[in-house]
């Protein structure tokens, strides 16, 4: 009797390897960029017996920032590319709510997240519409941080890549302003991460579809009946 009420879940391969790889490279480089960026903005107070020529820690911090920055940037480019060739869950259409149904889901997820009510409709197995939309903005933030970062970096560099971004400096009113915005956007990332990680766990909790591990293994779980409905 009871048996019939128990749902049957099926495994769905949501996040392909490139998406997962991208995600973790992205996550770790951003973590490094925040730590090193924070130090660049507010260096530690250290008193040394050593002389300057014996050490280079601040230079190293900046080096890590720049190396992470390059990895972060190319990783981001890969993700943009994957948005056109990846599976349905990876496509860019997940990020921009063009259809009415996506907007409805945004409202629904907002109710779930903010008012903590039960989901009144099934939440999309890929990115939910709200998450997707927020990632769209975080992609813009990635782009902004890359543009401002490389514009600042251009002064240290003879390479063509950073030079592509020098137009930003006069546009934003000089290096100081660019650096200021670059710094401010660090906080956008910090706050994104706090909320993002929490929501991942929260949705895992209320949806019970294995959200958290999905970014590791790629799999999510969905009720058989929902999948049938879909088809």
């Amino acid at each position: 009797m009871e048996q019939t009420q128990k749902a049957i879940y099926r495994r769905i391969y949501v996040w392909e390897f490139p998406v997962r790889l991208y995600h973790w490279i992205n996550g770790f480089t951003i973590l490094f960029l925040i730590i090193t960026g924070f130090l660049i903005g507010n260096p530690l107070q250290l008193f040394y017996a050593n002389e300057a020529y014996q050490q280079y820690w601040f230079g190293t911090v900046r080096f890590i920032h720049f190396v992470s920055a390059f990895i972060f940037f190319f990783n981001f480019l890969v993700r943009i590319y994957w948005g056109f060739v990846g599976n349905q869950f990876a496509r860019w259409t997940n990020f921009i709510p063009l259809k009415k149904a996506r907007w409805k889901e945004i409202v629904n997820v907002l109710k779930v997240d903010v008012l903590q009510v039960d989901p009144s409709m099934r939440i999309e197995i890929g990115h939910n519409a709200l998450a997707g939309f927020i990632y769209f903005f975080s992609f813009l933030a990635f782009a902004f941080q890359s543009v401002t970062g490389f514009a600042l970096y251009a002064a240290n560099s003879q390479s063509f890549l950073p030079k592509l971004f020098t137009w930003v400096i006069p546009l934003m009113g000089g290096d100081f302003a660019v650096r200021q915005w670059h710094h401010i956007f660090m906080w956008v990332f910090i706050i994104f991460i706090i909320i993002h990680i929490y929501l991942v766990f929260y949705h895992d909790y209320i949806e019970g579809r294995g959200t958290t591990s999905s970014m590791v293994g790629g799999w999510k779980f969905e009720k058989d009946e929902n999948i049938n409905n879909d088809e």
Binding site: P43, W187, I194, E207
Partner: protein
């Protein structure tokens, strides 16, 4: 014309260049100065026949520090510049004539040397408001600059005032102080700095006269010759920066050892200027060498990038000393607190929230296990 005074052409030829080089130099000068090909003969004639190119130096909204800086030039010394290199026909600071006689010197030059004189501008223009915030000889700054720029062969904007508006352009810019390049319809060589270094000023002029026209300019109209590097890139305290050895407050142990001034607000990392290379007053020092951070005096809008002793500008409307970091920390704490509160509420309501999931899930116990095996 007395033989002692070489013309521009003679000067150039005496340095081993041919007449063809000279013409090439003139056309390069003309091209860079934005003079049409039709205007070329006049510039050739000017440098060929006039021993000293005529120069007009105008003053608008400024503090005359640019003129003061100019006369501190050590190589060349300023007496040589104004008596041998140029004919400084109008400069309110030094000229003997005043009033109508001064006016006459100005009018003579713009008429007799149309298309041939160099226009040097010190100060910003208070645009609009009928020009009442800066009037000279009963005319507005805007009227004068338009007239003077019309037939100028080259226009140089001295200092931050003329090239970015400087202090009077700082928020709320009560007089609508506007840099020259936004007022006139001509290429302008911007030589920012408050003031610019004396030897940079005479350097730009000599470049113009001796080395083939306008120096190469960057996207903001500044000569790369002097503004291609940040103060920070060539700062002699840079090793301390890279080593992470900073002055924590003025005259502390670290300041007395000459560590990097970054943490007391140095703007060297975001300021393009020649200070750390050319240095000031004949190479004696520059701000950082004398213990004060760079305040970014050659950058657009640097007055609004304060407070000067702090890395990030404070945000108006957020109380005292609210930098991005204090606001960021506050929002970060708020976000964490929100998340925590959310988690608590979620836990309290967990029965309701996960009821369906619980109902749907199967229970497995040892017995079942045993049974199945």
């Amino acid at each position: 014309m007395p033989k002692e005074m070489p013309t521009m052409r003679e000067a150039i030829e005496s340095k081993g260049y041919s007449r063809r080089d000279f013409l090439k130099y003139c056309s390069a000068a003309a091209a860079i100065l934005g003079i049409e090909a039709a205007g070329l003969p006049s510039i050739v004639r000017a440098f060929e026949t006039k021993p000293r190119p005529p120069v007009i130096w105008l003053h608008f909204q400024e503090c005359t520090c640019c003129s003061e800086s100019f006369i501190r030039s050590t190589h060349p010394i300023v007496a040589d510049v104004i008596f041998d290199y140029l004919s400084l026909d109008y400069t309110e600071t030094l000229m003997a004539a005043a009033g109508h006689q001064a006016e006459k010197s100005y009018q003579d030059t713009i008429k007799n040397y149309a298309g041939q004189y160099i226009l040097l501008v010190e100060g910003s223009i208070p645009a609009g408001n009928d020009g009442v915030f800066c009037m000279i000889g009963g005319r507005s700054a805007e009227q004068i600059i338009q007239e003077a720029a019309k037939d100028a062969a080259a226009v140089i904007a001295w200092g931050s005032c003329a090239s970015n508006g400087c202090v009077q352009n700082a928020n709320p810019n009560p007089t609508n102080a506007t840099p020259i390049h936004k007022i006139i319809n001509k290429p302008v060589i911007n030589v920012p700095g408050c003031p610019p270094i004396a030897d940079v000023m005479t350097g730009v002029i000599t470049h113009l006269l001796v080395y083939g026209g306008s120096p190469e300019l960057d996207s903001q109209g500044r000569p790369k010759e002097f503004y291609s590097r940040r103060v920070h890139d060539t700062c002699y305290r840079r090793p301390y920066y890279d080593a992470g050895m900073f002055v924590e407050s003025f005259d502390d142990e670290n300041a007395r050892k000459g560590y990097c001034l970054y943490k007391v607000g140095c703007r060297g990392p975001v300021t393009y200027n020649a200070c750390s290379v050319t240095k000031w007053n004949g190479g004696v020092s520059y701000p950082i060498q004398s213990g004060h951070g760079c305040i970014g005096c050659s950058e657009n809008g640097f007055w609004d990038n304060g407070p000067f002793y702090q890395h990030l500008a404070s945000f108006p409307g957020f109380g005292i000393e609210s930098t991005a970091d204090t606001i960021g920390t506050a929002v970060g704490v708020a976000a964490t607190a929100g998340v925590a509160a959310h988690a608590i509420v979620a836990n309290i309501r967990k029965r309701k929230l996960v009821k369906e999931l619980k109902d749907e899930s199967v229970e497995i116990n040892d017995e079942d296990k045993g049974g199945n095996s």
